[in-house]
Protein backbone atom coordinates (compact mmCIF):
# COMPACT_ATOMS: atom_id res chain seq x y z
CA UNK A 1 0.00 0.00 0.00
CA UNK A 2 2.57 2.50 1.09
CA UNK A 3 5.20 1.14 -1.24
CA UNK A 4 2.88 1.82 -4.13
CA UNK A 5 2.12 5.33 -2.96
CA UNK A 6 5.80 6.13 -2.64
CA UNK A 7 6.60 4.77 -6.08
CA UNK A 8 3.93 6.94 -7.60
CA UNK A 9 5.30 9.92 -5.72
CA UNK A 10 8.81 9.10 -6.92
CA UNK A 11 7.49 8.77 -10.45
CA UNK A 12 5.95 12.19 -10.29
CA UNK A 13 9.16 13.65 -8.94
CA UNK A 14 11.13 12.26 -11.85
CA UNK A 15 8.53 13.36 -14.34
CA UNK A 16 8.78 16.88 -13.03
CA UNK A 17 12.54 16.61 -12.78
CA UNK A 18 12.71 15.92 -16.47
CA UNK A 19 11.09 19.26 -17.21
CA UNK A 20 12.34 21.37 -14.36
CA UNK A 21 15.96 21.67 -13.44
CA UNK A 22 15.24 23.09 -10.02
CA UNK A 23 14.97 20.62 -7.15
CA UNK A 24 12.55 22.91 -5.34
CA UNK A 25 9.42 21.09 -6.46
CA UNK A 26 9.77 18.28 -4.00
CA UNK A 27 8.11 17.91 -0.70
CA UNK A 28 10.45 17.36 2.16
CA UNK A 29 11.23 13.79 3.14
CA UNK A 30 12.40 13.24 6.65
CA UNK A 31 13.21 10.83 9.43
CA UNK A 32 12.69 12.60 12.72
CA UNK A 33 14.18 10.91 15.80
CA UNK A 34 12.73 11.55 19.25
CA UNK A 35 16.23 12.67 20.33
CA UNK A 36 19.74 12.14 19.02
CA UNK A 37 21.59 11.73 22.32
CA UNK A 38 20.86 8.73 24.55
CA UNK A 39 22.33 7.33 27.73
CA UNK A 40 22.51 4.11 29.66
CA UNK A 41 23.19 0.48 28.82
CA UNK A 42 20.17 0.39 26.52
CA UNK A 43 17.76 2.92 25.10
CA UNK A 44 15.13 3.23 22.40
CA UNK A 45 15.05 5.89 19.72
CA UNK A 46 11.57 6.44 18.29
CA UNK A 47 11.48 7.77 14.75
CA UNK A 48 8.75 9.33 12.58
CA UNK A 49 9.01 9.06 8.81
CA UNK A 50 7.02 11.44 6.67
CA UNK A 51 6.85 13.61 3.59
CA UNK A 52 5.62 17.12 4.20
CA UNK A 53 5.97 20.78 3.37
CA UNK A 54 5.98 22.05 6.93
CA UNK A 55 8.81 20.97 9.18
CA UNK A 56 8.27 18.78 11.11
CA UNK A 57 4.55 18.39 10.69
CA UNK A 58 3.04 15.22 9.26
CA UNK A 59 0.58 16.68 6.79
CA UNK A 60 1.24 15.15 3.36
CA UNK A 61 1.90 11.44 3.41
CA UNK A 62 3.72 8.72 5.29
CA UNK A 63 7.10 7.50 4.11
CA UNK A 64 7.25 3.81 3.26
CA UNK A 65 9.70 1.88 5.39
CA UNK A 66 10.50 -0.87 2.86
CA UNK A 67 14.09 0.22 2.40
CA UNK A 68 14.94 1.16 5.93
CA UNK A 69 18.57 0.48 6.78
CA UNK A 70 19.93 1.04 10.27
CA UNK A 71 23.65 0.70 10.75
CA UNK A 72 24.86 0.19 14.30
CA UNK A 73 28.02 1.40 16.07
CA UNK A 74 29.85 -1.77 14.97
CA UNK A 75 28.80 -1.35 11.34
CA UNK A 76 26.28 -4.19 11.60
CA UNK A 77 22.62 -3.80 10.66
CA UNK A 78 20.14 -3.16 13.45
CA UNK A 79 16.58 -4.49 13.25
CA UNK A 80 13.97 -1.83 13.96
CA UNK A 81 10.56 -2.45 15.47
CA UNK A 82 8.07 -1.16 12.95
CA UNK A 83 5.09 0.36 14.74
CA UNK A 84 3.20 1.04 11.54
CA UNK A 85 2.02 3.64 9.10
CA UNK A 86 -0.84 6.04 9.39
CA UNK A 87 -2.09 8.37 6.72
CA UNK A 88 0.59 10.96 7.39
CA UNK A 89 3.48 9.21 9.04
CA UNK A 90 5.20 5.93 9.63
CA UNK A 91 6.75 5.20 13.00
CA UNK A 92 9.41 2.80 14.17
CA UNK A 93 11.57 2.17 17.21
CA UNK A 94 15.30 1.60 17.05
CA UNK A 95 16.66 -0.48 19.91
CA UNK A 96 20.01 0.95 21.00
CA UNK A 97 21.94 -1.82 22.72
CA UNK A 98 25.50 -0.98 21.78
CA UNK A 99 27.36 2.17 22.74
CA UNK A 100 28.05 4.49 19.83
CA UNK A 101 26.42 5.99 16.77
CA UNK A 102 23.58 4.65 14.64
CA UNK A 103 22.90 5.74 11.07
CA UNK A 104 19.22 5.45 10.19
CA UNK A 105 18.53 5.63 6.46
CA UNK A 106 15.75 5.20 3.97
CA UNK A 107 17.14 4.65 0.52
CA UNK A 108 15.64 4.08 -2.87
CA UNK A 109 17.09 3.40 -6.27
CA UNK A 110 15.30 2.93 -9.52
CA UNK A 111 15.02 3.81 -13.16
CA UNK A 112 12.01 5.46 -14.58
CA UNK A 113 10.93 7.27 -17.66
CA UNK A 114 8.89 7.33 -20.81
CA UNK A 115 9.07 6.21 -24.39
CA UNK A 116 6.81 6.37 -27.39
CA UNK A 117 5.65 3.33 -29.26
CA UNK A 118 3.30 3.51 -32.24
CA UNK A 119 2.48 7.09 -31.31
CA UNK A 120 1.54 6.12 -27.76
CA UNK A 121 3.42 7.53 -24.76
CA UNK A 122 4.39 4.72 -22.39
CA UNK A 123 5.55 4.98 -18.82
CA UNK A 124 8.49 2.73 -17.98
CA UNK A 125 9.99 1.58 -14.72
CA UNK A 126 12.74 -0.94 -14.12
CA UNK A 127 16.36 -1.74 -13.47
CA UNK A 128 19.43 -1.05 -15.57
CA UNK A 129 19.34 -4.61 -16.86
CA UNK A 130 15.78 -4.16 -18.02
CA UNK A 131 16.49 -1.16 -20.24
CA UNK A 132 17.31 -3.57 -23.04
CA UNK A 133 13.77 -4.96 -22.81
CA UNK A 134 12.27 -1.69 -24.03
CA UNK A 135 10.71 -2.59 -27.41
CA UNK A 136 13.03 -2.06 -30.34
CA UNK A 137 10.61 0.27 -32.08
CA UNK A 138 10.42 2.72 -29.18
CA UNK A 139 11.28 6.34 -29.85
CA UNK A 140 11.91 9.36 -27.62
CA UNK A 141 13.22 7.11 -24.87
CA UNK A 142 13.78 9.20 -21.77
CA UNK A 143 15.00 7.18 -18.84
CA UNK A 144 16.36 8.62 -15.63
CA UNK A 145 17.91 6.88 -12.70
CA UNK A 146 16.79 8.10 -9.32
CA UNK A 147 18.73 7.42 -6.17
CA UNK A 148 17.69 8.93 -2.90
CA UNK A 149 18.81 8.79 0.69
CA UNK A 150 16.91 10.15 3.70
CA UNK A 151 18.62 9.81 7.02
CA UNK A 152 19.28 10.79 10.57
CA UNK A 153 21.71 9.82 13.32
CA UNK A 154 21.48 8.95 17.00
CA UNK A 155 24.07 7.96 19.60
CA UNK A 156 23.99 5.92 22.76
CA UNK A 157 26.79 7.04 25.08
CA UNK A 158 30.05 8.03 23.40
CA UNK A 159 29.57 8.75 19.67
CA UNK A 160 31.71 6.84 17.15
CA UNK A 161 32.26 6.94 13.39
CA UNK A 162 31.92 3.34 12.20
CA UNK A 163 28.37 3.74 10.86
CA UNK A 164 29.24 6.99 9.08
CA UNK A 165 31.41 5.40 6.41
CA UNK A 166 30.28 6.21 2.86
CA UNK A 167 28.53 3.56 0.79
CA UNK A 168 29.76 5.20 -2.41
CA UNK A 169 26.32 5.38 -3.99
CA UNK A 170 24.45 8.56 -4.83
CA UNK A 171 24.68 11.65 -2.68
CA UNK A 172 25.78 11.09 0.88
CA UNK A 173 26.56 13.37 3.78
CA UNK A 174 29.70 12.38 5.65
CA UNK A 175 29.86 14.38 8.85
CA UNK A 176 33.14 16.11 9.65
CA UNK A 177 31.59 17.43 12.86
CA UNK A 178 29.94 14.45 14.52
CA UNK A 179 26.19 14.49 13.74
CA UNK A 180 25.16 13.77 17.32
CA UNK A 181 27.55 16.29 18.87
CA UNK A 182 26.07 19.46 17.42
CA UNK A 183 25.60 22.58 19.50
CA UNK A 184 23.96 25.89 18.59
CA UNK A 185 26.59 28.60 18.30
CA UNK A 186 29.30 26.17 17.22
CA UNK A 187 30.08 25.65 13.55
CA UNK A 188 29.29 22.23 12.15
CA UNK A 189 31.02 20.99 9.00
CA UNK A 190 29.43 18.38 6.72
CA UNK A 191 31.03 16.85 3.64
CA UNK A 192 28.95 15.74 0.68
CA UNK A 193 29.94 12.94 -1.64
CA UNK A 194 28.53 11.88 -4.99
CA UNK A 195 29.27 8.23 -5.73
CA UNK A 196 31.92 8.38 -3.04
CA UNK A 197 33.75 11.43 -4.40
CA UNK A 198 33.64 14.95 -2.90
CA UNK A 199 30.75 16.84 -4.49
CA UNK A 200 31.81 20.44 -5.07
CA UNK A 201 29.26 23.11 -5.94
CA UNK A 202 26.27 21.24 -4.53
CA UNK A 203 23.46 23.50 -3.41
CA UNK A 204 22.32 22.67 0.09
CA UNK A 205 19.10 23.89 1.62
CA UNK A 206 19.26 24.03 5.40
CA UNK A 207 16.09 24.75 7.35
CA UNK A 208 15.23 24.94 11.02
CA UNK A 209 12.17 22.98 12.15
CA UNK A 210 9.07 24.84 13.25
CA UNK A 211 8.42 26.44 9.84
CA UNK A 212 4.70 26.38 10.61
CA UNK A 213 5.25 29.04 13.25
CA UNK A 214 7.21 31.44 11.08
CA UNK A 215 6.22 33.66 8.15
CA UNK A 216 9.46 32.87 6.37
CA UNK A 217 10.97 29.42 6.50
CA UNK A 218 14.39 31.04 6.83
CA UNK A 219 16.06 28.38 4.70
CA UNK A 220 19.79 28.89 4.33
CA UNK A 221 21.13 28.26 0.82
CA UNK A 222 24.63 26.90 1.03
CA UNK A 223 27.06 25.66 -1.60
CA UNK A 224 29.67 22.98 -1.03
CA UNK A 225 33.30 24.01 -1.53
CA UNK A 226 35.98 22.15 -3.49
CA UNK A 227 36.16 19.51 -0.77
CA UNK A 228 32.39 19.04 -0.89
CA UNK A 229 32.04 20.71 2.48
CA UNK A 230 29.59 23.18 3.92
CA UNK A 231 29.65 24.87 7.29
CA UNK A 232 26.36 24.94 9.16
CA UNK A 233 25.79 27.88 11.46
CA UNK A 234 22.91 27.63 13.86
CA UNK A 235 21.76 30.23 16.36
CA UNK A 236 18.85 28.38 17.90
CA UNK A 237 18.90 24.84 19.18
CA UNK A 238 16.45 22.45 17.58
CA UNK A 239 15.89 19.90 14.84
CA UNK A 240 17.12 20.97 11.42
CA UNK A 241 16.43 19.68 7.93
CA UNK A 242 18.94 19.57 5.12
CA UNK A 243 18.42 18.73 1.48
CA UNK A 244 20.36 18.57 -1.75
CA UNK A 245 20.07 17.11 -5.23
CA UNK A 246 22.65 16.26 -7.85
CA UNK A 247 21.54 15.81 -11.44
CA UNK A 248 23.62 14.38 -14.25
CA UNK A 249 22.30 14.47 -17.80
CA UNK A 250 22.13 11.23 -19.70
CA UNK A 251 24.56 10.81 -22.55
CA UNK A 252 25.83 8.13 -24.93
CA UNK A 253 22.69 6.12 -24.36
CA UNK A 254 23.17 6.13 -20.62
CA UNK A 255 20.23 7.27 -18.52
CA UNK A 256 20.44 10.56 -16.70
CA UNK A 257 20.84 10.42 -12.95
CA UNK A 258 19.17 12.30 -10.18
CA UNK A 259 20.54 11.72 -6.71
CA UNK A 260 18.97 13.35 -3.71
CA UNK A 261 19.82 13.52 -0.06
CA UNK A 262 17.78 14.72 2.89
CA UNK A 263 18.84 14.61 6.50
CA UNK A 264 17.71 15.68 9.94
CA UNK A 265 20.21 16.96 12.51
CA UNK A 266 19.66 18.00 16.09
CA UNK A 267 21.50 21.00 17.52
CA UNK A 268 21.45 21.21 21.31
CA UNK A 269 21.67 24.42 23.33
CA UNK A 270 25.17 25.44 24.38
Amino acid sequence: MFARASLIAAGLAIGLGAFMSTPAEAHRRWLLPSMTVFAGDEATASVDAAVSNQLFVFEHHALALDNLTITGPDGQPVQPTIIGSGKYRSTFDVPLKKQGTYRIALTSEGLMGFYELNGQRQRWRGTRGEISKIPAGATNVQINESISRTETFVSLGTPNDTALKPTGRGVEMIPVTHPTDLVAGEQAVMRFLFDGQPAAGLEIEFVEGGTRYRDNDGAQKLTTDAKGEVTLNVEDAGMYYLETTKSVDGQNGQPGRRASYTGVLEFLPS
Partner: protein, 170 residues
Protein backbone atom coordinates in the same frame (compact mmCIF):
# COMPACT_ATOMS: atom_id res chain seq x y z
CA UNK B 1 74.07 3.25 49.73
CA UNK B 2 70.70 2.13 50.92
CA UNK B 3 70.34 5.27 52.94
CA UNK B 4 71.01 7.40 49.89
CA UNK B 5 68.35 5.64 47.86
CA UNK B 6 65.85 6.02 50.66
CA UNK B 7 66.66 9.70 50.89
CA UNK B 8 66.25 10.27 47.16
CA UNK B 9 63.01 8.35 47.09
CA UNK B 10 61.59 10.40 49.93
CA UNK B 11 62.60 13.55 48.15
CA UNK B 12 60.79 12.48 44.99
CA UNK B 13 57.60 11.84 46.84
CA UNK B 14 57.78 14.98 48.91
CA UNK B 15 58.33 17.44 46.05
CA UNK B 16 55.12 16.92 44.05
CA UNK B 17 53.00 16.21 47.10
CA UNK B 18 51.41 19.65 47.30
CA UNK B 19 48.71 19.13 49.83
CA UNK B 20 45.46 20.77 48.83
CA UNK B 21 41.93 20.60 50.03
CA UNK B 22 38.85 21.60 48.14
CA UNK B 23 35.43 22.29 49.59
CA UNK B 24 32.50 22.81 47.25
CA UNK B 25 29.36 24.26 48.81
CA UNK B 26 26.28 23.64 46.71
CA UNK B 27 22.84 25.00 47.41
CA UNK B 28 19.81 23.37 45.85
CA UNK B 29 16.95 25.88 46.02
CA UNK B 30 13.43 25.11 47.14
CA UNK B 31 11.14 25.59 44.17
CA UNK B 32 7.39 26.15 44.12
CA UNK B 33 6.34 24.06 41.16
CA UNK B 34 3.45 21.70 40.47
CA UNK B 35 5.68 18.69 39.94
CA UNK B 36 8.99 18.65 41.75
CA UNK B 37 11.78 16.16 41.24
CA UNK B 38 15.15 16.47 42.91
CA UNK B 39 17.67 17.68 40.35
CA UNK B 40 20.47 15.74 38.76
CA UNK B 41 23.70 17.53 39.68
CA UNK B 42 27.21 17.09 38.31
CA UNK B 43 30.35 18.67 39.76
CA UNK B 44 33.60 18.42 37.84
CA UNK B 45 36.90 20.15 37.19
CA UNK B 46 37.94 21.20 33.73
CA UNK B 47 41.23 22.58 32.48
CA UNK B 48 41.79 25.69 30.37
CA UNK B 49 41.04 23.73 27.22
CA UNK B 50 37.62 22.83 28.59
CA UNK B 51 38.56 19.18 29.08
CA UNK B 52 37.22 17.44 32.15
CA UNK B 53 40.13 16.39 34.35
CA UNK B 54 38.18 15.19 37.40
CA UNK B 55 34.61 14.10 37.96
CA UNK B 56 33.85 14.99 41.55
CA UNK B 57 30.17 14.26 42.05
CA UNK B 58 27.16 13.08 40.08
CA UNK B 59 23.82 12.99 41.83
CA UNK B 60 21.23 11.04 39.88
CA UNK B 61 18.52 8.42 40.40
CA UNK B 62 21.01 5.66 41.12
CA UNK B 63 18.46 3.29 42.62
CA UNK B 64 15.92 3.04 39.81
CA UNK B 65 15.16 -0.40 38.40
CA UNK B 66 17.18 -1.49 35.37
CA UNK B 67 19.44 1.54 35.80
CA UNK B 68 16.69 3.65 34.26
CA UNK B 69 17.97 6.67 36.14
CA UNK B 70 20.80 6.97 33.63
CA UNK B 71 18.26 7.99 30.98
CA UNK B 72 18.24 11.64 32.05
CA UNK B 73 21.99 12.09 32.55
CA UNK B 74 22.34 13.83 29.13
CA UNK B 75 20.03 16.58 30.41
CA UNK B 76 23.16 17.87 32.15
CA UNK B 77 24.24 18.49 28.61
CA UNK B 78 27.54 20.27 29.14
CA UNK B 79 28.73 17.61 31.56
CA UNK B 80 27.40 14.89 29.27
CA UNK B 81 29.31 16.21 26.30
CA UNK B 82 32.55 16.90 28.13
CA UNK B 83 32.77 13.71 30.15
CA UNK B 84 29.48 12.07 31.16
CA UNK B 85 28.96 10.15 27.96
CA UNK B 86 32.31 8.41 28.35
CA UNK B 87 31.51 7.09 31.83
CA UNK B 88 30.00 3.80 32.82
CA UNK B 89 27.58 4.72 35.58
CA UNK B 90 27.53 4.42 38.52
CA UNK B 91 31.08 5.57 39.28
CA UNK B 92 32.39 4.50 42.64
CA UNK B 93 33.07 7.45 44.93
CA UNK B 94 31.51 9.90 42.46
CA UNK B 95 27.88 9.02 41.89
CA UNK B 96 25.24 9.22 44.57
CA UNK B 97 21.49 9.65 44.98
CA UNK B 98 19.74 12.92 44.17
CA UNK B 99 19.42 15.46 46.97
CA UNK B 100 16.53 17.69 47.91
CA UNK B 101 16.60 21.43 48.62
CA UNK B 102 19.36 22.37 51.06
CA UNK B 103 23.04 23.22 51.38
CA UNK B 104 25.69 20.60 50.85
CA UNK B 105 29.41 20.75 51.57
CA UNK B 106 31.50 18.42 49.43
CA UNK B 107 35.13 17.90 50.42
CA UNK B 108 37.91 16.65 48.19
CA UNK B 109 41.60 16.14 48.86
CA UNK B 110 44.57 16.44 46.59
CA UNK B 111 45.95 13.07 45.61
CA UNK B 112 42.81 11.25 46.70
CA UNK B 113 40.11 10.07 44.32
CA UNK B 114 37.99 11.48 42.86
CA UNK B 115 40.03 14.69 42.74
CA UNK B 116 43.30 12.89 42.18
CA UNK B 117 46.40 14.89 41.56
CA UNK B 118 45.92 18.06 39.50
CA UNK B 119 48.92 19.49 37.69
CA UNK B 120 49.62 23.11 38.63
CA UNK B 121 47.59 25.47 36.46
CA UNK B 122 44.33 27.26 35.82
CA UNK B 123 41.06 25.35 36.15
CA UNK B 124 37.35 25.79 36.41
CA UNK B 125 35.05 24.12 38.87
CA UNK B 126 31.86 23.30 36.95
CA UNK B 127 28.47 22.64 38.52
CA UNK B 128 25.50 21.71 36.40
CA UNK B 129 21.97 20.86 37.48
CA UNK B 130 19.03 19.53 35.47
CA UNK B 131 15.62 18.71 36.83
CA UNK B 132 12.97 16.39 35.42
CA UNK B 133 10.04 18.52 34.19
CA UNK B 134 12.22 21.47 35.09
CA UNK B 135 15.13 23.49 33.88
CA UNK B 136 18.87 23.25 33.61
CA UNK B 137 21.58 25.56 34.88
CA UNK B 138 25.37 25.44 34.76
CA UNK B 139 27.85 27.53 36.77
CA UNK B 140 31.62 27.86 36.72
CA UNK B 141 34.14 29.08 39.28
CA UNK B 142 37.69 29.62 38.00
CA UNK B 143 40.60 28.76 40.27
CA UNK B 144 44.37 28.28 40.34
CA UNK B 145 45.94 25.07 41.54
CA UNK B 146 47.70 24.51 43.86
CA UNK B 147 46.22 27.10 46.23
CA UNK B 148 48.59 29.52 47.93
CA UNK B 149 46.84 30.16 51.18
CA UNK B 150 43.10 29.92 51.53
CA UNK B 151 41.28 30.94 48.36
CA UNK B 152 37.59 31.27 47.75
CA UNK B 153 35.38 31.71 44.73
CA UNK B 154 31.64 31.79 44.28
CA UNK B 155 28.83 31.82 41.78
CA UNK B 156 25.14 32.47 42.18
CA UNK B 157 22.57 30.31 40.45
CA UNK B 158 19.33 31.84 39.20
CA UNK B 159 17.05 28.87 38.72
CA UNK B 160 18.14 25.31 39.41
CA UNK B 161 21.08 26.16 41.67
CA UNK B 162 21.44 28.57 44.57
CA UNK B 163 24.70 29.89 45.98
CA UNK B 164 27.73 27.83 45.03
CA UNK B 165 31.16 28.44 46.52
CA UNK B 166 34.62 26.95 46.33
CA UNK B 167 37.12 27.05 49.19
CA UNK B 168 40.68 25.94 48.53
CA UNK B 169 43.23 25.37 51.29
CA UNK B 170 46.84 24.30 50.94
Amino acid sequence: MRKTIAFVATGLIATPAVAGEMTVNVEIPRLRVAEYHKPYVAVWVENEAGQAVANLKVWYDVDMRNAEGTKWLPDMRTWWRRTGRTLKMPVNGVSGPTQGPGRYALKFRDGVQPLGRLAPGAYKLRIEAAREVGGREALAIPFQWPPRGTQTGSAQGQSELGAVSLILKP
